[in-house]
Symmetry: C2
Subunit: 338 residues, 2 copies
């Protein structure tokens, strides 16, 4: 059933039947280390180059997620997946041997929100028993693609975030899961004209603010209806902007707000400046800390809002701005909020 | 309702409520010239560079399609769109001012099939009254992205196809349209190891063969159940391979088969070698020749199978193969096949 301006509420709920996260060495040394399903210390994941590394990471995430859900490859009807690289090569080369019908998605770092949204629409329509929603990022493939080759040893601005090597996968289905998706709010592109690719938090915060405000209005809810409102990878600067922008709209979410980009690393000790980013940031935090807390009933209802910065090396070199997009997903524990 | 290995059959049908195609000068000189809604002779579409040109093309397609359906911007609940460029910059910059919730898709030249598939899933679930499904490509932005700068004057192999400057949009809704989508079959990635980016027909034909064979099996149909089985942009070489591969599986579609890549140009007179390609190829042929013939009842049931070659400049330079993917959509005239 659709709701308000940009939302869908699922009457019967769509169930999360399993999830898994795999991350790299640096992420495995951070505060969430014990919550990931797997930490790989080889940055190449046994591959030949950074893109191959990320493809191998994707395949491992897919297989681990399916196993965690107690399913087999043949049980999965569709994969909804994407990544940050041009033409989604991490996904295409990573998932081709799965032999499962694929919908390739691009929402920059909001991809986990986009894949859960489209996956849940498909399940809610009764068109699949089990679908796999997943995404990844890799620090080195992203730096190579969007900024400078690592070998240059470029100095990073303090507003920069560190692209997560990692990712997560979720199996959605129409019954018997461990948590529920009860609604989604789909983001519009929001462009405040920011052009600094080393300050992506500022580029994405307006989109996150828009999606959260639209969500609360569409569902007729207030921030207090959520135990947590969790953005993807705004980092410390983006978080401040988000809270300011929502404050201007008369919406205060300080108490509920958490940002995946500020959870995965200890920024000070791990020298990650404003925090973490990448599709894999929100995906791996979702598939560790967030879903564990929801499944154990610590959090009853969470608004998960991955955020994406829509730019390419070409658009950036052409001096274009970096618009943002954010897709929100309502995730609830099976024991419903009273 | 899902069907067989990779298909969905829509019980009530999902309706096509309007469509539009816009193409460039060369396409406007081809055999379909009188069928497009608009031909733009300025290759820059009034923009500053090739990416900007394609963005402006996308925005025009969106606005024209919405108008053709007799709707206004505010009536459209979601846009399902993508393009060929890295990080979908034609789409992001083209559609940001629409202010409509966006699902960004990447399926290479199969994107029109992917957007119609996801759009129809969404409408079939009752989650939207009207959605816009669209895609584009631009000869110059694609050559710059995937091959060599135009200024090099590179000689093209005879197996090469010419990327269409153009695109198409379709409005889907849950009632009262001019044609129906009655089912979809979603493609898997198929990789026969082909590495020649100047022979994309060969790279994509195995995926088209797989999707068509799976489709016929899932629906329990034979080629004769279709007036046309229309692939996206295989060109003359890909077409031969497709027919051979299906023949090996005991499936003969010569009589029904048509390829958009062989329709939009007069290859001999227009020097386009093996034919045409690009997301905009199948999209603009769908939104001219194909939908006109369906709406007028000349064709009662068509299987539309856009085909995509999944590679990037990076994967190609790393010596990787070019896997293919193809998404099939069943489109029927309102006067059903007897």
């Amino acid at each position: 059933m659709y709701l308000g301006e940009a939302s869908i509420e699922y009457q019967d709920g769509v169930y999360i039947q399993g999830y898994a996260s795999i991350v790299g060495e640096k992420e495995g040394q951070g505060p969430l280390r014990s919550l990931f399903h797997d930490v790989e210390n080889d940055p190449l994941f046994g591959g030949d180059n950074w893109e191959d590394a990320e493809s191998r990471l994707q395949l491992r995430i897919a297989n681990t997620t399916i196993r965690e859900a107690g399913l087999e490859l043949k049980d999965i009807r569709y994969v909804f997946a994407g990544d940050l690289l041009g033409q989604l090569i991490a996904t295409s080369f990573g998932l081709k041997d799965l032999n499962i019908p694929l919908f390739g998605l691009y929402g920059a770092c909001s991809t986990m929100g986009e894949s859960l949204s489209l996956g849940s629409i498909c399940v809610s329509a009764g068109h699949a028993d089990h679908v796999l929603c997943m995404t990844s990022s890799h620090f080195a493939s992203a730096e190579k693609s969007f900024r400078f080759p690592l070998g240059y040893g470029t100095q990073r601005k303090l507003s920069a975030t560190w692209t997560v090597t990692g990712g997560g996968g979720v199996i959605l289905g129409n019954s018997g899961g461990i948590a529920r998706i009860t609604g989604i709010t789909t983001g519009k592109i929001v462009d405040y004209g920011c052009t600094d690719k080393e300050n992506m938090g500022a580029c994405m915060a307006p989109a996150a603010a828009d999606t959260i405000a639209v969500h609360l209005s569409d569902f007729g809810r207030c921030p207090e209806d959520y135990d947590k409102i969790i953005t993807g990878d705004l980092g410390s600067i983006g978080k401040t902007i988000l809270l300011d922008l929502l404050d201007e709209r008369g919406c205060r979410i300080e108490k509920q707000h958490m940002d995946c980009g500020m959870e995965i690393f200890d920024s000070e000790k791990q020298d990650t400046h404003a925090g973490a980013s990448g599709c894999g940031c929100s995906a791996s935090v979702l598939c560790s800390l967030i879903l564990k807390n929801i499944c154990s009933g610590i959090w009853k209802r969470v608004l998960f809002v991955p955020t994406g910065a829509l730019f390419s090396p070409v658009s950036s070199n052409e001096g274009r701005s970096i618009p943002g997009i954010a897709h929100a997903v309502v995730i609830e524990s099976l024991e419903q909020k009273g």
